[in-house]
Symmetry: C2
Subunit: 401 residues, 2 copies
């Protein structure tokens, strides 16, 4: 008799047949006596269709109006899913983001959840209703509709699970769990039964696109038990939690991210506060920076390089050019032709052989490393984009994960 | 420097080109210094598409979920219209029904507006924003989304105009005003410059589908100046108001309604309270009854006939069969093969020649009259559906409107 939050992505509800498949997954758990709250994304390509529709009218619409438009997508999918559950004979109610109490900040398009007021959801659960909730959307303090950005439905589900103190948050996707590498790239890739939040976080932020990293961060913060599983096949997925049973291998996975660009501001005067100025300006524009590299000062100048995701490329270029002028730097360089490949696994730092083994695998595959970044549980390298798949396979083989 | 409420229907915003046409109509008035509030329906066939989508999943979905689905339609059109206005360089904000303060009762699918809380709209007008508002939708006291039913956007516009004390409420349609008869049926049909609320009300409820009758009732009640005009052509339309300048003709128009069905409960015991029981039961089920005819009692029984719109046919049949059992009536008959044709004009009652002239025209056209109903400003007859167009033309000619 658990309280279960489930989340189904757009491909899981793309058409009537799939909607009924999802309805059956939900009602099966309900029939077993569980309280069910289900977060749903917009159907299949709805969001892209809306973006095209908007672009036809205004290539540069306000983010506020874009959020109004996009949030209609989940309103459609949630009501259709509710109708399917009605058809199967179960009590159900669908709620928009604002009805379900999702309060966010005002950053349209990339809003962050401030709080979930679960009063309405709990009221409906009290009436024994299956509660369908629109993912990806909320309301800001001015009563304007906001969206959380791509992948935001995962975050909606985890936030709701945390607020409701749900027993588990099940994220249904089109893969059946978290793998040691992309199974399409690496034939020996293996599904993990369990993984820690930190490892998942590194994998998520590294481009293993199973879970949105904000959702994993939130799950870690509020200790929400996550499970990643397939909506197509009925079998156990991967459980994400604080501590996992020890497995003999150290490395949990290899991931790549090719949707990045590297910027360099060259010939920056070697004075205190320069890095602060650059990165605080980027932060103010909500541009997430990943790897940062600063050359050692020489001739009174230094070079500062960093990577950002493709979607922030234009904004980052503007900041770089502005900084170049302000600081009297020499030039700005941008390279889109890069990929980041990483190995992830807890306890890596206390095991110096990992980095050496990774670099050896890359050297043997004749792949040049441009930048290196390490954390307690991962090692990332920036390489040429064309080498990315080869690198993933070489590293996976080297560690025999 | 007026406060203008405009309303654009689904065909006026069916595609990007038409959306820009509407955006130009709005911004032209705004540029002249007027405060603009614009009510918009869902694009073209969106509502029908949603109904099809729902039917594929559940032929009998709950009305609550249907309202959730349908209300996404205006959310799409209002944001696209706002984006077009942004593109033209004007300040604009779009608001859903609940954001714009539309509070309704809980009759999903046919909700009635209880109150419009205009705080948000006035706030946006104060910021000099053009305010786009989703028609057709509101919120009930449980924070559930409701819809007003087909044509409800007209009512939304009039309710908003009344609450804001707007100077005029302009209803843009695909015709350029109110005609003395359907111009597609009667070649001599003439556009009216002015018409009274009562006359418009009779025409609206009689199937001259220019304005939703609930919207005209509301305009009359709150004395809202209405104007019906075309979104395709820039020319004056028809103004609907309390008193119009006297025109020589008495008859304002001829209308027909073929979307009706006639029910008869035959052999009802001739006791007091019988009619009350039938019509109070119909009212409780929110079935609007139009013409009522009760035969004179004979042999201790009487026949009661009435007409309803097609959409209420199934529900009315159930009531009739139930009443038959309860009252011990003989049988129930239903005839869908009927049309109502009416002449409308103020002061008709003090001019007995009108009815005679109408009946003469029908007799000469060899059309049999099944039922007759009169009011202060109209005379309606029920005839066979196949004769409806012929009847409209014959009457229009007879009065030489």
């Amino acid at each position: 008799m658990a309280l279960i939050v489930q989340k189904f992505g757009g491909s899981s509800v793309a058409n009537a047949e799939r909607i009924f498949n999802v309805a059956r997954i939900i009602t099966e758990k309900y029939r077993q006596g569980n309280s069910m709250v289900v977060v749903v994304s917009a159907q299949g390509d709805t969001t892209d269709d809306f973006i095209d529709k908007a672009a036809e009218i205004n290539p540069n619409p306000s983010k506020r109006e874009m959020d109004v438009l996009l949030s209609a997508g989940e309103q459609i999918s949630m009501s259709l899913l509710a109708m399917a559950i009605e058809k199967l004979g179960y009590p159900v109610v669908s709620l928009t983001g604002w009805q379900a109490g999702f309060l966010t900040d005002s950053s349209h398009g990339i809003a962050r959840i401030r709080r979930v007021n679960t009063e309405r959801v709990e009221l409906e659960l009290g009436k024994k209703n299956i509660v369908i909730v629109a993912g990806f959307q909320g309301l800001n303090r001015y009563d304007d509709i906001t969206t959380l950005g791509r992948g935001g439905s995962d975050t909606s589900a985890v936030a709701l699970a945390a607020s409701l103190k749900a027993d588990v948050c099940q994220i249904y996707t089109d893969v059946d769990g978290v793998y040691t590498a992309d199974p399409r790239l690496v034939k020996n890739a293996r599904k993990l039964d369990e993984i820690t939040y930190d490892e998942m976080l590194e994998l998520a932020s590294l481009g293993a696109q199973v879970l949105h990293n904000r959702s994993v961060e939130m799950a870690k913060k509020y200790n929400v038990n996550l499970e990643v599983l397939s909506s197509m096949e009925r079998k156990p997925g991967t459980i994400v939690k604080e501590v996992v049973k020890v497995e003999k291998m150290l490395i949990k996975g290899v991931a790549k991210d090719s949707n990045i660009a590297r910027f360099s501001i060259l010939g920056v005067p070697d004075k205190p506060g320069v890095a602060f100025k650059i990165f605080s300006t980027l932060a103010a524009k909500k541009i997430d920076v990943d790897i940062i590299l600063q050359s050692i000062g020489r001739d009174g100048t230094k070079d500062i390089s960093f990577t950002v995701s493709n979607s922030n490329e234009q904004a980052a270029l503007e900041v770089c050019n502005q900084m170049k002028e302000v600081m009297g730097a020499l030039s700005v360089a941008c390279d889109e032709n890069v990929s980041k490949v990483s190995v992830v696994g807890a306890g890596m730092q206390s095991n110096p052989g990992v980095a050496a083994k990774m670099f050896e695998a890359l050297a043997e595959a004749n792949i040049n490393i441009q930048m290196i970044s390490t954390s307690e549980i991962k090692i990332s390298v920036l390489i040429e984009k064309k080498d990315a798949n080869k690198a993933v396979e070489a590293i996976h083989d080297a560690f025999a994960i």
